[in-house]
């Protein structure tokens, strides 16, 4: 399994990537939405994207919109991992094609629970 962690903060990429690695993902990273689109072009086996909202160059929301235009990426699970906790932002992201939404700060269990719910991680594979 391969995941793409998209966040302009290196420390957040480290934290999210560490959680995903712990449940069996190979992780690639991108620092903004535009870079993430390039990573997806290079890695046709990505199953999951964890996406920050506020990033320079291209936001996470813009990335979701762009990614959902591509038929070949329609099976990729998109999970927002962001500080944007307002209801209307959550609705916007889900309407644009995101599958799940995690609000920072979070514990590793929150991420793993979402992955289990999405069927990307077996229930026994807890941290």
């Amino acid at each position: 399994m391969k995941a793409l962690v998209i966040d302009d903060s290196r420390v957040m990429r480290r934290i999210v990537g560490g959680i995903l690695t712990g449940v069996g993902f190979d992780v690639v990273e991108a620092g903004d939405g535009k870079e993430a689109l390039a990573r997806l072009e290079e890695n046709d086996d990505v199953q999951l994207c964890c996406i920050d909202w506020n990033m320079p160059v291209m936001t996470g929301f813009e990335f979701v919109v762009e990614a959902r235009k591509r038929d070949e990426w329609r099976d990729i699970t998109l999970m927002m991992v962001t500080t944007e906790g307002e209801q209307n932002q959550i609705v916007r992201a889900l309407a644009a094609g995101a599958h799940e939404y995690v609000i920072k700060p979070f514990t590793p269990d929150v991420i793993v629970d979402k992955l289990q719910f999405l069927g990307l991680v077996e229930a026994k594979e807890t941290l």
Binding site: V11, N54, T83, E84, G85, E86, I103, K104
Partner: protein
């Protein structure tokens, strides 16, 4: 000048304390109980670091500012990057770590009001930002490992013409 604003719902520091406690419990300490709320006059912070985000483009622009000692920022960066206590923290990692803290706090603060606008990217500086034209709403300080960390919320007296 006193500004009447939607942000005044946060004049009580309790929501800010709760956000800070959640942040430290989940991302820093891995458990609650390591932050102590500070009541009373705020002491001076030696060798301060400031990190802030603005919330622009909503009904009322605002700024969330975190101030702490540089050594405290180093300690927080070491935790977040899983470094040893004696490891040097590169400047870029220091800015990344403390900037992400204010990003998380700012995002959670803005979720408590309606039509808040959008967050700017975090700024980190050894100098206090220009606060002219801003009015304080709340100042909430905590101690972490005995060191002071203060979160303050300010509103702009005039609406910005730019959005993030």
């Amino acid at each position: 000048m006193t500004v009447t604003t939607m942000w005044e719902v946060l004049a009580d520091p309790d929501p800010i304390f709760t956000i800070a406690e959640d942040l430290f419990a989940t991302m820093i300490d891995g458990e609650p109980g390591h932050l102590i709320r500070w009541y009373g006059e705020r002491p001076a912070i030696l060798h301060p670091t400031y990190t802030w985000v603005d919330v622009l483009g909503g009904d009322q622009d605002a700024r969330v500012l975190i101030s702490m000692g540089h050594d405290t920022g180093d300690d927080l960066a070491r935790v977040l990057f899983d470094l040893e206590d004696t490891d040097e923290v590169p400047g870029v990692d220091f800015d990344d770590a403390v900037g992400e803290l204010v990003n998380v706090v700012g995002g959670n603060v803005k979720s408590l009001v309606t039509h808040p606008g959008a967050l700017t990217m975090p700024t980190v500086s050894g100098g206090m930002p220009d606060m002219s034209g801003l009015e304080p709403i709340v100042d909430a300080c905590v101690t972490w490992k005995g060191s002071l960390v203060c979160v303050s919320l300010w509103v702009f007296e005039e609406k910005s013409t730019t959005t993030p």
